[in-house]
């Protein structure tokens, strides 16, 4: 897909003026936060489980080569095939080869961010193979020729009247009087259309939430059941997963599952958690005849051992974006590539380079809510700071920003000068702030005051107030 991350600022402005988007984003603010809070509060062990989940992934990453080996052996033992892919292109090629061997004309897909990352649908389309997204949200955005704007709620940017219009446009055989005004009737229509596709497809492609070294199983966690029909009905099931999806044992899966659904949708457990191990067994009445797993690197090995290693703990629950004020304001598409929100701001520069994704770590107020809700305790703000440093070191941010930072640094490194200048400037600003104590216009601060007032400072600086407070304390003690 086209990367528009370098124009994040313009994307954001565009998003802020998009009335449909702003209406839809209200659902993110209203929906996810309360549900997560309630589910987390109802489980006293929740925070201890977050620690356990973090430790499991840290342990796994430290032994990743060995767990991958063990996993591969188990998949092979159960009659499955493991393919290794260093790059997105390699992974796409492997998928195509398998499809060609089956003379596949249609593939169904379960919801999978990794196939978005490797832009699989467009590739298959070019090769003459129809790729059908079966998750309701993914199906909607496929009709709209868009990409997901959220990692677990891909169509969260779309309102129901837009979905109706898309269905009427594409399902043009529907009678005009068919009611498509409510989510229920829209879902029924999608269900009906997609049912036929599951049976028609020769190949079903899913991602994986986990790969289990103990058993060689791939795990998907879903609510709709489309992922299960995708991996159950076609002759061939292909799993695409990046290498850090490995966990050692079933018990480790259990620990992480307890934080995954609660953090994502506020459910104690998602409706369907399915473990697939190899192809159909002798005597089995259903299930795929072939089972393939594609293990994809695509930049992960380069994150290991760096300050961005912790990002590899991510389980893609979406809690960070659900709680992010920047995501709430601009939505997911503004981030310009596959992964939005705070996790995207950290992951995108790692995967497509800081020259293209370097803007995203600036899309943060550093309020820290993402880290406070992350089930895997990933220090997202710290890593965004690392990226900002790299961006600065490589001279990638604009000149005004760089000079501004340099001027600031010159003051910050000279405390006496800093105190002197602020002690002169602050009272002056306080004076001009007037009785309202706000500026609706300030030279050089137009970027701020165009959208909101700037609060005027108090008449004395923090340092002055602090000194007075401390000396007051000393007097009281004496």
């Amino acid at each position: 897909m086209e990367v528009t991350s370098p124009t994040f600022k313009q994307n954001a402005v565009h998003a802020l003026h998009d009335a449909q988007l702003q209406k839809a984003l209200g659902n993110v603010r209203a929906g996810f936060i309360d549900k997560r809070r309630k589910a987390a509060d109802a489980l006293p062990e929740f925070d201890a489980l977050r620690d356990a989940a973090r430790d499991i992934k840290d342990h796994t990453l430290a032994h990743l080569d060995l767990y991958l080996e063990a996993y591969e052996q188990k998949v092979t033992d159960s009659g499955g095939h493991v393919h290794w892919a260093e790059t997105a292109e390699d992974a796409r090629r492997i998928v195509l080869d398998i499809c060609r061997m089956q003379n596949a004309r249609t593939v169904t897909k379960g919801k999978s961010m990794i196939t978005e990352e490797i832009a699989l649908n467009d590739f298959l389309q070019l090769a003459g193979i129809k790729a059908v997204e079966t998750d309701l949200g993914e199906y909607i955005i496929q009709l709209r020729n868009e990409h997901p704007s959220h990692i677990i709620a891909p169509a969260v940017h779309v309102n129901k009247d837009q979905v109706e219009a898309d269905f009427r446009r594409v399902h043009d055989y529907l009678p005009d009087d068919r009611d498509l005004t409510e989510p229920e009737t829209l879902l029924d229509e999608a269900r009906r259309v997609l049912r036929a596709q599951y049976f028609e497809a020769e190949v079903g492609i899913t991602g994986a939430n986990f790969l289990v070294a103990e058993t060689g199983s791939s795990v998907i966690v879903t609510n709709e059941g489309n992922g299960d029909l995708t991996q159950l009905l076609p002759r061939v099931h292909i799993v695409i997963a990046s290498i850090e999806k490995i966990v050692p044992t079933l018990n480790d899966v259990s620990q992480i599952l307890r934080v995954l659904a609660r953090s994502a949708t506020g459910q104690d457990m998602s409706v369907y958690t399915t473990l697939s191990t190899g192809p159909r067994r002798k005597g089995d009445p259903d299930g795929p005849e072939q089972y393939h797993v594609i293990l994809l690197d695509n930049g992960r090995t380069s994150m290991l051992g760096t300050e961005f290693q912790d990002m590899l703990r991510c389980i893609r629950c979406g809690a960070c974006m659900n709680h992010c004020p920047v995501y709430h304001a601009v939505g997911g598409h503004a981030y310009g590539w596959v992964y939005p929100g705070p996790m995207g701001a950290v992951l995108t520069p790692s995967l497509i380079g800081v020259d293209k994704g370097g803007h995203l770590p600036n899309a943060s107020t550093f309020c820290g809510r993402c880290e406070s809700v992350c089930p895997m305790r990933i220090p997202l703000p710290k890593m965004m700071r690392h990226w900002r440093e790299r961006e600065f070191e490589r001279g990638l941010n604009p000149a005004t920003q760089r000079y501004g930072l340099k001027i600031w640094a010159a003051f910050a490194k000279r405390p006496r000068l800093y105190n002197f200048v602020t002690s002169m400037a602050i009272p002056l600003l306080a004076l001009f702030g007037g009785r309202k104590k706000r500026f609706s216009f300030l030279p050089l601060a137009g970027g701020w005051t165009r959208h909101r007032d700037l609060p005027a400072p108090e008449s004395r600086t923090f340092m002055q107030q602090w000194r007075e407070r401390e000396s007051g304390k000393q007097r009281a003690a004496a």
Binding site: P44, L136, V163, N251, S254, G305
Partner: protein
């Protein structure tokens, strides 16, 4: 160099494997041989009666319906009552699971029984669960010769029979049960943990039941 070697090479270089490789291997082998238990929520612990009660509560909280019966003999009648209450045709799809087959279905003359995998045209499927999990109201279903997985997903209504004695407090207990049944590291082709009927919140975050899987999940707890 193959992709596998390239990826493994990078991993080993970064992870510092080499000198202490033996220790790392031992750590991994140990964990795989003896999976750590981890943190198990208090909520599911207690007497058997508590577990069954919690299981029913949690399942109902996620929009499943539950009927409790005293013995397996009562299951066919319960199924037929369900069909009547929901105004469904007197026909059910199921696997040849011997626990289900042993039930007195023949007493219900008008009920049509279809065995084998679902073709997508069944209103009602009946499965027997391997286990129930009280902490979340979940049932565990295993695929196998007599247990088609399609029955769990294609019918509009899914009825799952679970023995009260198979209801565990937590997921870990069920995982241990699987290891006993299939041997260490062994698994059925498909293991479905099902918690309530299929749903989607993809349009304006409004939760609707019956996305691609069954619109309704009815649990029959036996014993």
């Amino acid at each position: 160099m193959s992709a596998r070697d390239a990826i493994m090479g990078k991993l080993r270089k970064t992870l510092g494997a080499g000198a202490d490789d033996a220790t790392r291997r031992e750590t991994v082998a140990k964990r795989l041989a003896k999976p750590p238990k981890g943190i198990v929520p208090e909520r599911g612990q207690g007497s058997d009666a508590h577990k069954v009660k919690l299981f029913c509560q949690m399942a109902e909280a996620v929009a499943a319906s539950v009927t409790r019966v005293r013995s397996p003999e009562r299951v066919p009648k319960t199924v037929s009552d369900y069909l009547r209450a929901k105004n469904l045709p007197a026909s059910v799809r199921m696997g040849a699971d011997r626990r289900l087959k042993a039930m007195p279905w023949d007493k219900l003359k008008s009920l049509e029984l279809k065995y084998g995998p679902s073709d997508g045209f069944d209103e009602v499927g009946v499965s027997h669960a391997f286990a129930g999990i009280a902490e979340t109201g979940t049932v565990a279903l295993l695929s196998g010769k007599d247990n088609p997985s399609t029955v769990n997903f294609l019918p509009e209504h899914h009825i799952v029979v679970v023995d009260a004695k198979d209801i565990a407090g937590d997921l870990e207990t069920v995982l241990s049960g699987l290891r006993r049944k299939f041997g260490k590291g062994g698994m059925p082709r498909t293991l479905n943990f099902v918690t309530g009927p299929s749903r989607s919140g993809d349009i304006e975050q409004k939760i609707i039941l019956g996305a691609h899987g069954p619109r309704a999940l009815h649990l029959i707890v036996v014993g």
